[in-house]
């Protein structure tokens, strides 16, 4: 039970995995500079990853349902906004939101944040964590909400 006037914020997290290919190339750089800055990731044919996405929503459990946000609803949002857009795609060429950006883990996490932020009907988007591999991930938080 919570005291009067206090809030009980709970974080809920849903994971999804998608597979996609990408390459790093900045047309403003020379070929040599692209190779030097991006290394193996500059291979013109691209390469792929199994991306693991963790989406965390913060909010108070609804007194009727006991839920911050129905995970089935969140699953549906992730399916429509992320899986349909990014799963089994070449990120540089097939994801409009990434056009003109280098599809690094940082930039993909930012794009995912922007795609999801307006879709969360209950609770608030708290964190987007995107793993490119088990050893590398980017975290995206809302303004001033680091941690």
């Amino acid at each position: 039970m919570k005291a009067a006037g206090k809030t009980n914020t709970v974080l809920i997290t849903r994971k999804i995995e998608f597979s996609a290919s990408h390459l790093y190339h900045n047309p403003a750089f020379s070929a040599e500079e692209n190779r030097r800055v991006f290394g193996k990731c500059n291979n013109p044919h691209g390469h792929g990853h199994n991306y693991m996405l963790e989406v965390t929503i913060a909010g108070e459990p609804d007194p009727t349902t006991g839920m911050v946000l129905d995970l089935v609803e969140l699953k549906g949002i992730l399916e429509k906004e992320i899986m349909e857009r990014m799963d089994h795609r070449f990120l540089n060429y097939e994801v409009t939101e990434l056009k003109g950006m280098i599809p690094t883990c940082e930039n993909i996490a930012i794009v995912i944040w922007k795609l999801l932020e307006g879709q969360i009907r209950k609770g608030k988007l708290h964190r987007v964590r995107l793993y490119e591999s088990p050893d590398l991930f980017a975290d995206c938080y809302g303004n001033g909400a680091a941690q």
């Binding site: 290394g39 930039n107 930012i110 995206c140 938080y141 001033g144």
Partner: protein, 137 residues
């Protein structure tokens, strides 16, 4: 919006928790199995978190090749397959708990030139972890 990038590294090392200012009985009581005089080892996982901004030309907070070589030179070369108590200067005067290990590794990485060091998190085993984000402002 705040963006951070985290990279995980692994090293294997041994340590012994023992404070020379305490008696043998007190050390044994305080540290238990970790006070074994011959030491024992762990596979340490070190998570290094860097803060933004993202460079529009590269899409990166920092180039991972630069981070990898910096961590290799300042941490992994010194720590991997070592006995922390005897081979790391800092642990000649402090007990090599993973709390102190977090602080030591943070201090070794805080001057990484390409981005701001946000946090060092260490998993000593799969069941416990420790984090340090620098001195309080």
């Amino acid at each position: 919006m705040t963006i951070t990038l985290t990279r995980r590294y692994l090293f294997a090392a041994s340590h012994r928790l023992h404070n020379a200012k305490l008696s043998d009985a007190e050390n044994q009581q305080l540290y238990g199995k970790c006070n074994n005089p011959y030491g024992h080892g762990h596979n340490y996982v070190v998570e290094v978190t860097l803060g933004g901004p993202v460079d529009p030309a590269t899409g990166m907070i920092a180039n991972l090749a630069d981070l990898d070589s910096y961590v290799q030179k300042h941490v992994l070369d010194d720590f991997d397959h070592r006995y922390l108590n005897e081979e790391i200067d800092a642990f000649k005067s402090t007990v090599p708990t993973t709390e102190n290990l977090c602080i030591e590794i943070y201090n070794r990485l805080k001057n990484f030139p390409a981005a701001h060091l946000e946090r060092v998190r260490i998993e000593e085993t799969s069941k416990n972890s420790f984090e340090y984000s620098g001195e309080s402002k």
